[in-house]
């Protein structure tokens, strides 16, 4: 296949998926919200859940983005080293964002620093944001996509602690972020926590944690335990939907880690709102696309 056609094919497929992602939640987020709505007993919180579910239904019925803030698009690319069209990927992703901005439509959210101008098409240096990972023996392409909205990005943080702060220090960073700006970020929240050496690695790991499925646990038993400890602590604060109080405040807490230097303990925390719009799309070497994150909600 000619490279120009390859690029258009990938771009079309990704633009279609961005359209779906902006209008339907991923299955795991939807299922967890159903569970939380069911468990809620406070009348004012129940009413907020009613409104959220009416919004989910109406977004599908009227074919409109669930939330007006369709975010700055972030692609976490897992590219098989044997995928035949590696050089076409970044151009195709940019093209996909351009198409979806016009067709879906996505809100133009890319503002150029210093000029302070909105580019109007979501294309700018760093928009879309692309992170690369090469998968040695694979010949396919997996895209994990996140629509980074303003409200849920505002509470994000990365700090480097002294190791003596320990895991208590890690939890402190999360709780402070939740109670400071997190309460305004459309709770119930998804919380991703990254632990590593530097502010940058902890930050990236926290976003990878946010991309992990709701209900999945870190394979390391201690990390999984920490996920539960933080989740219980945040739920005990009783923030509830829209910070109007309620039984549960988090969809889930996921922890990802990398080695930390003996002299540092870096913590990153990333947040997703109740309408966390993330998705997973797989494209094989024949350029057939499969949506992995939205199966049930495509039937809504």
């Amino acid at each position: 296949m000619e490279n120009i056609n390859v690029r258009e094919r990938i771009a079309g497929c990704v633009a279609d998926f961005l359209n779906i992602m902006s209008k339907r939640l991923p299955d795991d987020v939807y299922d967890r919200l159903c569970e939380m709505k069911e468990a809620e007993t406070l009348p004012s919180a129940c009413s907020v859940y009613d409104c959220m579910f009416e919004n989910i239904r109406e977004a599908v019925r009227l074919d409109r983005p669930i939330c007006q803030d369709t975010g700055l698009i972030q692609f976490f690319v897992k590219a098989g080293a044997k995928f035949p069209y590696l050089s076409e990927i970044s151009g195709a992703l940019e093209q996909a964002v351009r198409i979806a901005t016009k067709k879906t439509p996505l809100r133009p959210n890319a503002v150029l620093p210093f000029d302070e101008k909105n580019t109007g098409d979501n294309i700018a240096p760093g928009s879309p944001w692309i992170e690369w990972e090469i998968v040695p023996d694979s010949d396919s392409l997996t895209l994990e996509i996140y629509m980074a909205g303003g409200g849920c990005s505002l509470p994000g943080k990365a700090v480097v602690l002294m190791p003596s702060a320990g895991y208590e220090g890690v939890c402190d960073v999360v709780l402070e972020a939740v109670c400071d700006r997190g309460i305004n970020a459309c709770p119930p929240l998804v919380i991703g926590v990254g632990i590593g050496t530097c502010a940058d690695s902890a930050g990236v790991l926290s976003k990878k944690a946010l991309l992990r499925k709701i209900g999945s646990r870190n394979p390391h038993p201690k990390a999984a335990e920490l996920e539960k400890i933080i989740k219980d602590a945040v739920n005990s604060i009783g923030i509830g939907p829209n910070a109007l109080k309620g039984k549960e405040s988090v969809l889930d807490v996921n922890v990802e880690f990398g080695a930390h230097h003996p002299a540092t303990l870096a913590v990153g925390v990333s947040f997703g709102c109740w309408a966390t719009r993330r998705g997973v799309l797989e494209i094989n070497r024949e350029l057939n696309c499969e949506i992995l994150s939205h199966k049930k909600t495509l039937e809504l």
Binding site: E54, I183, N184, E225, N242, W274
Partner: protein, 209 residues
């Protein structure tokens, strides 16, 4: 407060009278009909810091912290696609002066606002209410017509969009003119519980590693 409950709705119409706003209490659920105007970070900065006023007289109207998605229609105007509220706290720096200079009576957004805004609400007879965050399609359905736009040079999210709404809500009154500031009060409770949880965590993590 259910979105689908159309009975016994308390509906206020613009231009709001001062006594109507002063009769509201934090926690009340209201719906509004009439004119809403959007302004976010840049709009507040332009009015307060640069002293530039829009053509529309904001006196008695509803200010909406929102950056909608709109699309051009065949008639040359705009249609509302999706317009949920944005985080109100970002506007805290300029809000009090915005209220004083523009005369808006109701501010709608999401999340809480600070003491400076609350003081301006008491002084000038204004209120702040929250619309459920992320419920952008429910909000857009209450918009009858986009009647105009100003400051388009700021880009779609930051421009000042003017629209006519019918029974826009539910809006939960957050800051009233009597000292009520619901989310700020909630935040104090959350802070207390956070302090308790830190003690619990300290105990749980004692032998963690």
């Amino acid at each position: 407060m259910s979105c689908e409950n159309t009975e016994n709705k308390k509906v206020l119409t613009t231009p709001f009278r001062e006594e109507d706003i002063r009769s509201l209490r934090a926690g009340d659920v209201i719906y509004i009909s009439g004119t809403m105007v959007t302004a976010r970070d840049d709009g507040h900065k332009r009015l307060v810091k640069n002293g530039v006023f829009p053509e529309i007289d904001l006196e008695g109207l509803a200010l909406y912290h929102a950056g909608p998605i709109v699309c051009k229609n065949d008639a040359g105007g705009y249609d509302m696609v999706s317009c949920g509220p944005t985080t109100s706290m970002r506007m805290e720096k300029f809000q009090a002066e915005f209220i004083e200079r523009s005369g808006v009576r109701l501010i709608v957004g999401k999340g809480g606002m600070g003491e400076k805004t609350a003081e301006a609400c008491r002084k000038y007879g204004a209120a702040h209410g929250v619309f459920p965050g992320g419920c952008a399609v429910v909000a857009a359905k209450c918009v009858e017509e986009i009647t105009g736009v100003e400051w388009e040079d700021l880009g779609m999210p930051e421009a000042l969009w003017k629209f006519r709404v019918k029974e826009f809500g539910p809006i939960i009154v957050n800051i009233d003119t009597h000292g009520g500031n619901m989310i700020a009060d909630n935040k104090k409770i959350f802070e207390e519980r956070k302090a308790e949880q830190k003690k619990v965590l300290s105990e749980k993590l004692k032998d963690f590693h």
